[in-house]
């Protein structure tokens, strides 16, 4: 469905079920050069198991209009406006990669309005190599290849987003190209990476959240190595937060290379 958020038409995939304000809501936030469709299996399942789902295309990405967020903080402002536009008082936030930082910053700002926080494939700081940032701007196809090579953990993924016969690597390459093409004004690839690289509010944000947090990490993740999530994990524990960790045998394509394990980790955490 489409919502008007900050005056811009914003697409939210609702998992094949109509939005119902009476149900608990979970918001899915995608990463750099992705869109809502990376969550398709997890979001569709939850939509048919008691949850309202808003799997959003971030502003300036694919079906959503508006200015693409230039920082994690800008994107967090968008999430707050999204909840207001949907009439949602309280929601769980699930984010992948860049989306995990957006979810984290949003949870810190929205406090009790966030019931659960799920950080998939996260790291803090989420530094991006200068070579990758430069390539995302000047050689996006090369950068897209680098990202997907670093993200892949298997040549034989189980049935995935398109069912059996899905070639996850190719799907991710095609999606990246489509997302890049969807915004003629801004290179959302480069802008997203710069936003990840510059975000400096992670430790402060995790100290301010008021909900339990789940880390879903890829044991084979070369984009956001599980060790790189430890500063956030430790900061959360130091601040007395309820922390859960699920480490899956996968790289950075958690939702498509281990769709069931990722779903179960999120589902079980949300249903606590």
């Amino acid at each position: 469905m489409y919502l008007q958020v900050n005056g811009a038409s914003t697409y939210c995939y609702t998992g094949g079920k109509p939005f119902d304000a009476a149900k608990p809501t979970v918001v899915f936030l995608h990463g750099v050069i992705n869109d809502h469709s990376v969550w398709i299996l997890q979001s569709r399942y939850l939509a048919h198991h008691g949850w309202n789902v808003l799997a959003v295309d971030l502003p300036g990405h694919c079906k959503s209009e508006g200015e693409a967020p230039a920082s994690v903080e800008d994107a967090a402002n968008f999430v707050a406006a999204l909840l207001d536009a949907a009439g949602v008082q309280k929601a769980a936030l699930v984010g992948h990669s860049w989306g995990s930082l957006i979810a984290l910053e949003s949870a810190a700002r929205l406090k009790e309005r966030v019931s659960h926080l799920v950080l998939v494939g996260t790291a803090y700081p989420m530094k991006v190599s200068p070579a990758l940032i430069e390539a995302s701007l000047n050689e996006p196809e090369k950068a897209l290849t680098m990202v997907n090579v670093f993200s892949r953990s298997t040549l034989a993924a189980p049935p995935s987003a398109l069912g059996p016969g899905t070639w996850v690597y190719g799907s991710s390459m095609a999606l990246g190209r489509r997302v890049l093409r969807s915004n003629a004004k801004v290179n959302v690839f480069h802008r997203g990476f710069v936003a990840c690289d510059r975000y400096a509010g992670g430790e402060a944000a995790i100290a301010q959240i008021t909900c339990p947090v789940l880390f879903v990490l890829g044991g084979l993740d070369q984009m956001t190595n599980p060790k790189a999530a430890q500063p956030l994990v430790q900061a959360a524990r130091a601040a007395g937060k309820a922390v859960s960790i699920a480490t899956l045998p996968v790289g950075h394509h958690q939702m498509t290379e281990t769709p069931d394990a990722t779903l179960f980790a999120i589902r079980d955490f949300l249903n606590r």
């Binding site: 048919h48 995935s160 016969g165 070639w167 999606l175």
Partner: protein
């Protein structure tokens, strides 16, 4: 960068889609000869049927052995996924039937396999889908054939029977300007000789019966999606962009930004038309794919030698292979195919200077070449259209189709090239005697 995370063609041909079996440790791909798959629970069953979870339900829709073949082909073509079908013809039908219904229009190359031409010109027309045929090199013709209801462009990488190379970059651009995808039959080239997606094609299919399986043992097909065509932007494909009552009111383009075509093709096309592949067939084709590059290199090498021999033989007129500079597609083959004109494959025709009787005598004198109606076998094959597939046609009608009374089609196999040339030399002598 090369390595496990970014493997090359041959590594993908051996490993894409397959891992050692987690239950038995079997290294080769197991053949899952089962119709159906046990659900873990009622909730699991419901989630599979509703595409909330991915997995296998019934082997008409998907099967683990077929899924290995599908992933492997998607990997080799550079696509997002694939669907195995009962034959190459089933793959073409699946693509057409998924994208359109009565009232739709296709622009297709004239240089097509006869079965494809039949499907489009006769059978699909009966179901209200019209096709305009255009010579593959007639770029203005492709553009002029577009109608408001045009929903597909279609051609072969190297067309049948003359090996006309399709100018995929140009034709795909015209198709995209018309809001239509370009579907390409890459059977004769395989992903080893050309990657149609890199040139601008949107969907590729193969008759896997031919070089992919490579041993003349199995019938099968596969359709691969690049995930590049924007169905919503085109506005011509409500089948993919509007709610489908026949499958949970799903809007396929919302479910998957890049995979709407494959979602509908599997969930409707395989479900309803049912032209699925047997897992045993998928396994046989996988055996072939594992040695694809080795075989194609040998096919090309042998073909080059045979073409050179025929081109210098006094009883041979035209030799229809782009290896020769006189061939109309020589320059395009050099430009678009991975190995230049060598990559135009090993199926080609040539003309004996003589009568139908001489053509027949040539065929009957061959010892190594097998006289049959197939191509892409590891064994060398031959057919004489004027005395077999086109025997009812007059010489004038044959000429209109680009076929002479002495036209011979060869599919060059993997035997020793010297033996093939010796066989041809002896048969040409027999043809010469038959004309005396």
């Amino acid at each position: 960068m090369s390595g496990y995370a970014d493997p090359g063609f041959d590594t993908l041909a051996l490993h894409a889609g397959a891992a050692p079996d987690p239950t038995t440790g079997a290294r080769a791909v197991p053949i899952h000869l089962t119709t159906s798959f046990v659900f873990e629970s009622s909730d699991h069953a419901a989630a599979l049927f509703n595409l909330e979870r991915a997995g296998h339900v019934y082997s008409r829709i998907s099967n683990p052995t077929n899924a290995v073949f599908e992933q492997r082909m998607a990997a080799l073509e550079g696509g997002i996924g694939a669907i195995a079908t009962a034959s190459g013809q089933a793959a073409l039908h699946l693509a057409v039937a998924t994208l359109m219904g009565a009232g739709s229009h296709i622009v297709a190359s004239t240089a097509l396999y006869g079965g494809s031409q039949n499907l489009l010109h006769y059978t699909m027309r009966r179901f209200g889908i019209e096709t305009t045929f255009v010579k593959p090199g007639d770029i203005d013709g492709w553009r002029a054939a577009v109608r408001p209801n045009t929903k597909l462009f279609f051609g072969e990488t190297v067309g049948n029977p003359g090996l006309d190379v399709l100018d995929i970059p140009t034709v795909s651009q015209i198709a995209h300007e018309a809001g239509a995808p370009l579907l390409v039959d890459s059977t004769l080239t395989t992903p080893y000789l050309v990657k149609p997606f890199e040139l601008g094609a949107d969907i590729v299919y193969h008759s896997a019966t031919k070089f992919l399986s490579g041993h003349g043992t199995v019938i099968g097909g596969v359709v691969v999606d690049a995930g590049s065509f924007d169905w919503e932007k085109s506005g011509k494909f409500p089948e993919l962009t509007e709610a489908y009552e026949g499958f949970h009111n799903m809007v396929f383009s919302e479910e998957s930004t890049v995979g709407a075509f494959l979602l509908r093709a599997r969930r409707e096309g395989l479900r309803d038309f049912g032209a699925c592949m047997s897992p045993h067939s998928a396994w046989l084709i996988l055996q072939g794919i594992e040695t694809l590059s080795l075989r194609m290199d040998r096919h090309m090498g042998n073909t080059e030698k045979v073409v050179q021999f025929l081109a210098s033989h006094p009883l041979v007129g035209r030799v229809g292979h782009p290896l020769l500079e006189s061939h109309p597609s020589h320059a395009l083959a050099e430009k678009l195919l991975r190995f230049g004109a060598r990559g135009a494959g090993s199926v080609f025709s040539f003309d004996i200077k003589g009568s139908r009787a001489q053509g027949k005598a040539f065929i009957e004198a061959l010892k190594i070449f097998s006289h049959l109606a197939n191509v892409g076998d590891c064994r060398s094959l031959v057919i004489h259209p004027a005395s077999t597939t086109h025997f009812r046609m007059s010489d004038e009608a044959l000429a209109a189709g680009g076929i002479g009374p002495g036209t011979i089609r060869l599919s060059i196999g993997l035997e020793d090239a010297d033996d093939l040339i010796d066989d041809l030399k002896r048969a040409l002598k027999a043809a010469e005697k038959a004309g005396a």
